[in-house]
């Protein structure tokens, strides 16, 4: 039925590369959701796609999970072309979408039985696997409740559980922690670490710089449908080039004054911050940092705390795009259905 690439069959590609994307473009009408994405993701890693809303993260995941056909370019998942060998790709990957992709009108247990059956388990086996997963995800008590009544964190967990009925070679998680409280977020992070430790490659998207920093071994920063930077988190930080002095002001109305004083000490040094009481100052060395702190003290600007360190991913994002990571609200939803 589907044309197979004979070359790919004769020489199975080395499984060290889980995902290979080259020049993938995806247009929706006049919108170029993906504008030539290139990615190479190694097997067995946690890889983060980082970017603001509408950057193209979800579209990338949907292309890689065979839900969308790229307009042009080529994407290989575990050596299989996502267009011509979509069925093989689906046999090896799992997707947990941005919206809880479980049936709200079914119970937690029924949802997992449903997915287990669809993945090829017999009825009895499916029920046993559902119970096993409910236990592992701390949802045994809620097994008989409709998913509609679940909290956000519980939904997220049942959703991830549904992706782990059988071991996927790659697990795609689209914004796994968006809308979760800090506690549930930590639980999801712990889960992702467990899954990766077990040998599954995880590709996750996030808008949270902290999340990418903490979970992913490598990151791609994506903006306007293009990968604008790629590397490990320390790589990206060092690409910004210098140390950053972070100061937390006691009074946020003193921010403009503080920025002006800092600019007087070190030229072109103030990095924009999204938080109103935070000021980030690019400094060439410790002496410059000390000079800035001294100048602030002399001007009677009280600080809650300060730190000198490598730039945060916020700084990286600014250095790469010339604007803070938070997307303007008007930019709307990504990859309109």
């Amino acid at each position: 039925m589907r044309a197979r690439d004979p070359a790919a069959r004769r020489n199975p590609p080395q499984m060290t590369t889980a995902i290979e994307v080259s020049s993938v473009v995806k247009t929706f009408g006049k919108t170029r959701a993906l504008d030539g994405v290139d990615l190479a993701i190694r097997s067995g890693s946690v890889y983060g796609l980082l970017g603001p809303n509408g950057a193209g993260k979800t579209t990338t995941i949907r292309v890689l999970t065979t839900l969308l056909k790229p307009t042009s370019g080529r994407a290989l998942v575990l050596g299989h072309d996502v267009v011509r060998e979509a069925a093989q790709v689906r046999r090896k990957v799992s997707l947990t979408g941005q919206y809880a992709s479980v049936d709200e009108d079914l119970t937690g247990h029924e949802n997992l039985v449903l997915v287990s059956r669809l993945l090829g388990l017999g009825w009895k086996d499916a029920r046993r696997r559902a119970e096993e997963l409910l236990g592992a995800f701390g949802l045994s008590d809620a097994a008989g409740r409709l998913v509609r009544t679940f909290s956000g964190g519980m939904r997220r967990r049942i959703d991830i559980a549904a992706s782990l009925v059988t071991r996927p070679e790659i697990l795609f998680l689209d914004e796994p922690t968006s809308g979760l409280d800090p506690r549930s977020r930590n639980q999801v992070w712990e889960l992702v670490r467990q899954i990766a430790a077990d040998g599954t490659t995880v590709l996750l998207t996030t808008q949270y710089l902290e999340e990418a920093d903490r979970l992913a071994e490598r990151l791609a920063v994506i903006d306007h449908g293009r990968v604008i930077a790629e590397g490990t988190s320390p790589d990206l930080k060092s690409s910004v080039g210098s140390n950053t002095l972070h100061v937390h002001l006691a009074k946020q109305e003193q921010r403009a004054q503080a920025e002006a004083i800092a600019a007087g000490v070190v030229a072109n040094c103030v990095l924009p911050q999204t938080e109103p009481s935070a000021v980030a100052i690019k400094v060439p060395d410790g002496a410059a940092a000390a000079a800035v702190l001294g100048a602030l003290a002399r001007a009677d600007i009280a600080l809650i705390d300060f730190s000198l360190g490598a730039p945060s991913l916020d700084d990286v994002f600014f250095a790469l795009t010339g604007r803070p990571a938070e997307a303007p609200k008007s930019e709307g939803k990504e990859a309109a259905p």
Binding site: T65, Y99, D105, G135, L146, R157, A197, D198
Partner: protein, 272 residues
Amino acid sequence: MSTESLPDAAEAIVMRARVEPVSAASAVATLAWRAMLRIKHVPFQLFDVTITPIMFTLLFTYIFGGALSGSPKVYIQYLLPGILVQTIVFITVYTGVGLNTDIQKGLYDRFRSLPIWQPAPLLGALVGDLFRYSVASMLIIVLGLILGFRPAGGAVGVLLAFALVLVFAGALSWIWIIVGMKVKHPESVMTTSFVFLMPLTFASNIFVALETMPGWLRAVVRHNPVTHLANASRGLMHGQPVGADILWVLVASAAIVLVAAPIALRLYHQER
């Protein structure tokens, strides 16, 4: 609350190797099971398909019966097979509504990313819908019998009429599947469909005989597939020969499926 915390044992998730994908039939059966579960958990879905037919049957029988046929009892012999057709044709819309809801919620993303025969979710849902049509049909007949409906064709005639209505409804559902994939909200499926369904069911001989209509309308009504279906349903239930109408309905159903199903499947495979 214990449901809010994960057991801290890091080894809690025991991984399980992938197995061979399910057969197409098994996938459809599993997804039909899901449709049944939804009916169990959200019985309101059945409320819609039961209350409407009861209301229609009662209203039309008692309000129009006397005027149209002399008495409600006489009219219901004519009306009931037609009301069955109208009700079922109307509730085919829920196929599109349900599909649209699933798509909007992201559930179809999961189904489509699973290694299953791709049309299975559509067909599974359709099986559930056919079950709902059957429940509605039974209800109308039982109500009819209580109100004095006496099908001369007996149980066999009634069942054959059921079967024919289900065939047509199943075919029509494919059109709502297309609408369900095209529009943005479940409510839009409803609105869009009613624009078609109102004229389709009322410009037919469900409620009144063809002969009572003005000439130009008669020409339209005569070619309405719903008229043929109502004729066939009436004929089967009352034991009258309606071979031509049955054939007409079967051909129309086949034509709808042949045109709509490939379009629906194409849309389903494509991006959204």
